[in-house]
């Protein structure tokens, strides 16, 4: 088991962190998706192709590297379809498709993945997907579809005919969702839908983003506690504040340990992945929201204002916590996997 980052992984982290600091600073997160930032993210750092195999132009890296990147995009609250594209790339690692994977690796295609089952007739697909992550921004949708008695994965061009997209107003202003209605939209069959494996990988990838969100939230409030004065003292010197920050740090340490473990399991120990993935969502999802919540509260009144960034973390943390379903499903899966 590997829980410590390698030299290369640390360099990747530093590169992504440095890039996002200038290319997508926090104030910009409110403006939403900026395709130019994506072009550079993919062009200069090759992030979109991280988990795409080398034969399709990707870096052929594993979940451990993707987790490092997602932690940084999470910390920056990067808007747009980065997570959705990463989700899709992970699904495509189980249902390979040269065209899509090459497009993602080259940064030409952003994609999103949904588990709502469509119907298809070989050439077109139909169905209503009520809440698709980054559905208004992504170029391609990948989803399961039923036809001829079997379930396959299909790809649909979202700018093409037969597609109606309606952007939804969401709690998280930095990253949107959309309702997508397909009515005989041209759809390409990628291959049989895998019975297992996709959901576990999404759980781990999301946990990595959540780790970044909670780390950035904790960093922000720790920095504030060192400069904000009340009753003649820095607020970080009060045990009422300090002890809460210490507890938040403990959650972060444990969350990081779980994310590293789950990413390692995805790469090296598939047998452990289902339990590790359920653990990652059950622990990190909750811990992320709690840390984001307490970071907002410890800011005091200023943290409740629209102008302050605290609510951006709070809302992203909540949106992430329920992104893959109500959190109880991860706990129920754990119970099942532990044969309780």
């Amino acid at each position: 088991m590997k829980l410590v980052l390698s030299q290369e992984q640390q360099e990747l982290r530093a590169a992504v962190r440095d890039f996002l600091r200038t290319a997508s600073p926090l104030p910009k997160a409110r403006d939403g998706y900026d395709p130019q930032v994506y072009a550079r993210l993919n062009g200069e750092l090759g992030l979109s192709g991280l988990v795409v195999p080398e034969e399709y132009g990707g870096a052929g890296a594993g979940m451990s590297e993707l987790a490092v990147a997602l932690e940084e995009t999470g910390a920056a609250l990067l808007p747009g379809p980065f997570l959705a594209t990463a989700f899709t790339a992970l699904a495509l690692s189980l249902v390979p498709d040269k065209e899509l994977q090459t497009g993602i690796a080259e940064g030409r295609i952003t994609a999103t993945l949904d588990d709502t089952e469509l119907t298809h007739d070989g050439g077109t697909a139909s169905g209503t997907l009520t809440q698709v992550l980054s559905g208004a921004d992504a170029d391609v949708l990948v989803a399961p579809a039923r036809g001829d008695g079997s379930t396959v994965m299909v790809a649909v061009e979202l700018a093409g005919p037969g597609v109606t997209r309606t952007a939804l107003e969401t709690l998280d202003v930095t990253r949107g969702q959309a309702t997508i209605v397909l009515d005989g939209a041209p759809a390409r069959v990628l291959g049989p839908a895998p019975e297992t494996g996709i959901f576990d990988r999404l759980c781990v990838a999301l946990a990595a983003e959540q780790l970044g969100v909670m780390r950035a939230a904790l960093d922000a409030i720790v920095a504030y506690a060192k400069i904000r004065v009340a009753f003649g003292r820095y607020i970080g010197s009060y045990q009422g504040v300090k002890h809460k920050l210490a507890d938040m740090h403990l959650k972060l340490e444990q969350a990081e340990s779980i994310v590293r473990y789950a990413a390692w399991a995805a790469d090296e120990s598939p047998g452990e992945l289902p339990e590790a993935a359920a653990l990652a969502q059950a622990y990190v999802g909750r811990a992320c929201f709690e840390v984001a919540r307490d970071h907002l509260l410890l800011h005091g009144g200023i943290g409740y204002t629209w102008e302050h960034d605290a609510h951006l973390f709070y809302k992203r943390a909540k949106a992430d916590e329920v992104l893959l379903g109500p959190p109880r499903i991860h706990r129920a899966r754990l119970a099942q996997l532990l044969e309780l």
Binding site: V222, Q239, K242, H243, E253, I258, R260, Y283, A335, L340
Partner: protein, 388 residues
Amino acid sequence: MNLDEYRRAAGEWLRENVPTDDYPEADAIARAKEFMAKLHDAGYSGITWAKQWGGQGLTQAEDRAFAEAARDYTLPTYVFSIGLGMTGPTIADRGTDAQRERFLRPLLRGEEIWCQLFSEPGAGSDVASLQTRAVPDGDHWVINGQKVWTSVAHHADWGLLLTRTDVDVPKHKGLTMFVVDMHHPGVTVRPLRDMSGKANFNEVFFDNVTIPDEHRVGEVNDGWSVAVTTLLHERLSISAGVGMGGQKDNPASLEALRRVLDTDDPLVRDELVELHIRSRALALFNQRLAQETKAGIFPGARGSAAKLLLAELTLYQADLATRLVGPEAVLADQPLARAISMAPGMALGGGTNEIMRNIVGDRVLGLPPEPRVDKTVPFKDLKVGTQA
């Protein structure tokens, strides 16, 4: 010999030499001493300690390799843990050559048992406010006072004793460290029963006990810096042990509970899932710290985070288990009754949870310290202990 060979050899030695048979409680000390002598002869006692003073002069890498090999065994070395983990390293770091020569080899060979005498009834978390006095008398010092929470004092030959030598200066500046002969007339060791009913530690009284000046460790009134050395070693030895102990004998573990509970009940299932989540989260954190240490990243104050989490998990786990099992959990002969009774110990010994949170806040997060009202006040003018 490379590390793998070293580990394998250690494993083989342990398999042949760790006693596994039952023996009467009364023989425990004799057995422990016998085992330590064999351990030293085999070259596994004081692995990183200097050769000159009886150690093996090897590196942390060999020490870790041995610890890994020893993980599968319960070594009968408990009575030496204070000496090996805290007082011995303090003598090695801060003692005179004569003290190192006199004390270290007998410790490593299991010939002498040590205890640590810092805490007092009025000085726990704030140990620098202690009141046991040492007064000079020719080439001797005369000790009067009381210590508490002293593990293995009833078996100890020597104690590392922190005393007050000057009351006219602020509290940290008037302390001096000594080695005290625990068999000296005037030393009274009284077992102190803890809330579980067992006497795991002692009160120790000093009534005009004399100590030769050559048994002073460090300069007069520089005892605090010596104590800091000891406490650093204490924290390291606690955090090194954190996560080492398995859950196999824990009556509040998931494995133990699932055998006795109806897991068809969804409420029970969810409680057990929560227990699993918290246990795994801490276990993985401990493993990550261990891997970092191996990679040369020193855990430092993050060891306090691990200790705090273990304390909280211990309390939560015993509390949850008793609630899930119900009325029979409170019968005195039930392992769960013992577990709930012992659970607070981890949150108090080796630094309370509040002290651990201060350490994480100050040293890991770098938060500003609390203002101190006692820094410049002469000790004799300071309120200490419990005062109305």
